[in-house]
């Protein structure tokens, strides 16, 4: 029984590795750190497999572990990043403007919570309800974080399906 679950997890993790890496990389923008994050999340997933009760929820459960790992790394980095004064420009005090490069880059400049909602919604095609399960935030929080994120991105809300 336990080994069946082990096999299921293993084939899911091997099969989805490229998707996991892309998601991790989009948070961390660093090859080595993204690899570390994927490895850590994979390790945690097997370590804590007893907490996965419903196997149909594997996708949201693992995404949750991976996103938490990436957000933790970002938080930790925020705590220790040393930014030399000459690297700061006035622009970094302001929200990114539409002309500051591609939308993908601007998404990566959002606060981690808003980033998560935007990425899961538009890159991973999750519904808001699924995002709520992945993040553990309630549906209204997810919605407001998505609106806030999109507003910051100055993306037109026309044609965005939010459900």
């Amino acid at each position: 029984m336990a080994s069946l679950k082990e096999e299921l997890l293993e084939s899911y993790l091997i099969g989805g590795q490229e998707r996991f890496y892309r998601l991790a990389y989009s948070y961390l923008r660093d090859r080595e750190e993204a690899l570390d994050a994927v490895q850590t999340a994979v390790c945690r997933c097997l370590e804590r497999r007893d907490s996965l009760r419903d196997e149909a929820a594997l996708g949201t459960w693992f995404t949750r572990i991976l996103v938490n790992t990436c957000m933790d790394l970002l938080r930790q980095r925020r705590r220790v990043t040393f930014v030399p004064p000459e690297a700061l420009d006035a622009g970094s005090y302001e929200d990114p403007l539409p002309e500051d490069g591609a939308l993908a880059d601007r998404v990566n400049g959002l606060p981690p919570e808003a980033q998560t909602v935007v990425k899961l919604r538009f890159y991973e095609d999750m519904t808001l309800r699924e995002i709520s399960e992945v993040t553990g935030w309630n549906l209204n929080t997810v919605k407001s974080r998505l609106y806030a994120g999109l507003k910051k991105l100055r993306v037109s809300l026309e044609g965005v399906t939010l459900e």
Binding site: D36, C43, D72, L103, V160
Partner: protein
């Protein structure tokens, strides 16, 4: 939403590193091992008290056990003991602590024990501080109590006896802290207990020890380059290996060969771990 279409294409074009699959498989192996360890620990904690201070468990090496059994305390005789053994959880921190102590005549053993004890205390204090700081940052950036509850941190102190003869002892103490990323430090001790002093690379290898070691390291780095020219080791101009010196850590292998140990990240990317080079 054409803007997002483009963003999504960029996202999907993220280049995938070649070693990804190896890393995923490594994570699977690690996770399986930790799962068994945890289960075992839960079981052990339920059946026995898990805090044992000053257990004095004898390191079960045949040489040492035999020597200890046959000869009463003589000059040069020594034992390596676990002087502190603690495995358990407290405030979200999993402790896995086995602190070694050297029992021998002479000042050296005492000095080594004191140094180790000091490092252990500093390590535990730092781990607790890191955990507190992290907790603060976690809540300050919008984490919830519920999310926090899922988090744990591993704090490890462990040791390994690499080799021992009648009067010579080589062992490595590892300090680890594992949460979002892992930190690991190792310290090597090579003791000549008959003469009550530390063993140096110079006395093991002779006067050309620096060149000999450098050659071994360079050969090891050269051998690590794969067919595509990739290696985890940094080039010398980017902070890679330059030369060994008196402070280079090493242990002595069972066959007497010294093995150089470099801290993680010091001369290679983190993925290479803590690189070791035998000097044969």
């Amino acid at each position: 939403m054409n803007e997002f279409k483009k963003a999504r294409e960029d996202y999907e074009a993220t280049p995938i590193p070649q070693e990804l699959e190896d890393r995923v498989r490594a994570g699977i192996r690690q996770g399986k091992a930790n799962y068994r360890r945890r289960r075992w620990r839960k079981y052990a904690a339920g059946t026995a008290a898990c805090l044992v201070v000053l257990a004095g468990a004898l390191n079960l090496s045949p040489t040492v056990a035999a020597a200890a059994a046959e000869v009463p305390v003589l000059g040069g005789l020594f034992r390596v003991l676990t002087v502190r053994d603690f495995h358990g959880e407290e405030d979200g921190i999993n402790y896995d602590i086995s602190v070694p102590g050297v029992e021998a005549e002479g000042e050296l053993a005492q000095r080594v024990n004191d140094v180790i004890q000091e490092k252990v205390n500093a390590h535990l204090a730092k781990a607790q501080q890191d955990w507190e700081d992290y907790k603060e940052a976690f809540f300050a950036t919008g984490g919830t109590e519920e999310e926090w509850g899922e988090r744990t941190m591993d704090v490890i102190v462990d040791y390994e006896v690499k080799s021992q003869t009648d009067a010579r002892l080589s062992f490595v103490v590892t300090f680890g802290e594992g949460w979002v990323a892992s930190m690991e430090e190792t310290y090597c001790y090579n003791l000549d207990l008959a003469e009550d002093r530390d063993i140096t690379l110079a006395e093991l290898l002779g006067e050309n020890w620096v060149e000999q070691c450098n050659e071994a390291v360079r050969a090891g780095i050269a051998a690590s380059v794969d067919e595509e020219g990739f290696t985890f080791f940094f080039p010398p101009e980017e902070g890679g290996f330059a030369t060994v010196d008196e402070s280079t850590a090493f242990y002595i292998r069972e066959d007497g060969v010294p093995v150089l140990v470099f801290p993680r990240y010091s001369i290679a990317a983190g993925a290479a771990g803590s690189p070791e080079f035998p000097v044969e």
